[in-house]
Symmetry: C2
Subunit: 324 residues, 2 copies
């Protein structure tokens, strides 16, 4: 079969012939129709991820057809474990160290397979799993979002941020977005955001609060220097959920604000199988379609990675694996 | 009446004659028997507190007798408001801007008065309110401590840390303490701590985890550079509650650890009237006596402040107001 392989970090992916996987007991062979990129794939190509093993087929997101003819999407979070509060020590994400979805075929443990939402074509189905799962847990499990609340979603345009916007709007919450791009803010408002702010404007926290406060929840995938502004934006007793570090791995935390405002700063990554099922339920009920920025041929995987590097996308970057 | 007055920041307190307060409608006049210091008093004398107004009688903690002869302690958190999640914008702490407890008399709103625990003498009763309230909320409301869990309490010796140790032991939790002083650790173990670690030992987090993990909760009043070690110490899915910044106002937060470990970093300050009542219930039920480091005469208030400055105390610093 053909697959996009990372043979060495900091080198381009190579579309090459690889042995077809065999499904072991409890696994199912899936012929992939589409895959999607996540920032994780980019970090791995740059060597910025713990425990990288090469060669490896990247890719956490995929949708396809089993040998029995069932149309499925794959939950990319393996071995979550028994606790809802946190993943087990055996937890891993599909696509390194195990071979991932940038390939024509993949062998997947049965319990990772979920029915493809009927309203989604292959590209949109492949765009859903990792971002949808991450956004669901960040918003509703770690963030405890209520329909009466106002949530700020930072860095709109990213895959998680876009589906978080859709899930939060579906839940009836008031959604404010931030971006460095007015064009992205405009797109978000067309999708149901109430307002958007350029995070490049210093002191935007006070504007958000004057016009739309109180902000009960912030969903942040950026981290870095902008984190302090989030602490100023969120209301007393409110929550900031962090799921990523696109703009920087550390944040300078002013603890006096944290305790005086009685804040909850919560981490979230991926989600449990229960979270995945709950996310799918909302997506199916509200016929949510993940936003796709661009669909690439599998052979153009490196172009897609480069687009993620410059963060110019609005929505998911998808790889078409099969035209059938 | 005599009172200890801060006439100017960065100057010693002065024991001077002040007009006796008059109880307005809804207030009660209390003849104070004892008062106690908090780090807040020290910060105010140093000018390191927002909105300082001089002259002012300092002091948040007090116990005494009303004109009707009722023996009371004072809840120093005024105007908490209706929400349990956070204090209202009108919230203030007794002892700046309102005159506090380092005085022979004080006029206090009725709803701030609670019955003196029968098992506590005046000094111990005065030692309880602010620290007990802060510790209760940090442990049980913001920290959601369960009896089956392990909690680390940092900087044992501080007033809040000491009563937190007692409340957590009473709740049946396993308690680990940290300090820069082995002598303080030894005292804490005599009070029911299971173990203690010198936070001056780099990498103590791994020792705590090897010997006593998982650590579900950390109660921290220090902040500063040591915060990163706490992020390493707490278990996945665990909680760090911050209530103070004795060693530094900021913390460098490694967000990757926060999200991968699905942590909850929570702020806590003071507490609601409901929290105060719940704290008193535990103190009365378990006959908890706050730890007193030293009792000073009211005229020796500056000596007590200096002891707080060098943090040599183990437990509360109390001022004896009346010998009657």
């Amino acid at each position: 079969m053909k697959a996009l392989v990372l043979n060495e970090v900091k080198k381009p992916l190579v579309l090459q012939e690889m042995p077809s996987p065999k499904a072991s007991k409890n696994q199912v062979l899936v012929k992939l129709m589409a895959a999607a990129l996540n920032r994780r794939d980019y970090w791995i190509t740059q060597g910025s991820y713990p425990g990288i093993q090469c060669p490896v087929i990247l890719g956490s997101d995929g949708a396809g057809i089993t040998e029995q003819g069932t149309e499925v999407i794959i939950n990319p979070g393996y071995n979550w474990g028994r606790q809802q509060e946190t993943q087990s020590g055996d937890f891993k994400i599909l696509g390194m160290p195990d071979n991932g979805t940038f390939a024509e075929e993949i062998a997947v443990p049965k319990e990772q397979l979920f029915a493809r939402p009927e309203h989604l074509d292959w590209a949109h189905a492949a765009a859903l799993p990792l971002a949808g799962l991450t956004a669901y847990r960040a918003l509703f499990v770690q963030g405890k979002l209520q329909s009466s609340q106002t949530v700020v979603i930072t860095g709109i345009g990213g895959g998680v941020a876009c589906i978080a916007l859709q899930l939060a709007v579906a839940a009836g919450a008031t959604v404010i977005v931030t971006s460095s791009s007015q064009a992205k803010i405009d797109k978000a408002m067309a999708m149901g955001a109430t307002a958007g702010f350029l995070y490049t404007t210093e002191g935007y926290a006070s504007q958000v609060n004057e016009q739309f406060g109180p902000v009960h929840l912030i969903i942040d995938g950026a981290g870095g220097d902008g984190y302090g502004e989030l602490v100023d934006t969120v209301c007393p007793g409110g929550t900031i959920v962090s799921y990523g570090i696109t703009t920087g791995p550390t944040a300078k935390l002013e603890l006096r604000k944290v305790y005086w405002k009685q804040l909850h700063l919560v981490g979230s990554t991926m989600g449990s199988p229960d979270n995945f099922a709950a996310m799918l339920e909302i997506v199916n009920k509200h016929k949510i379609e993940p936003v796709i920025d661009e669909v690439f041929a599998l052979s153009d995987g490196n172009k897609a990675l480069e687009k993620m590097n410059v963060s110019s996308q609005f929505g998911k970057l998808v790889l078409r694996v099969s035209d059938k």
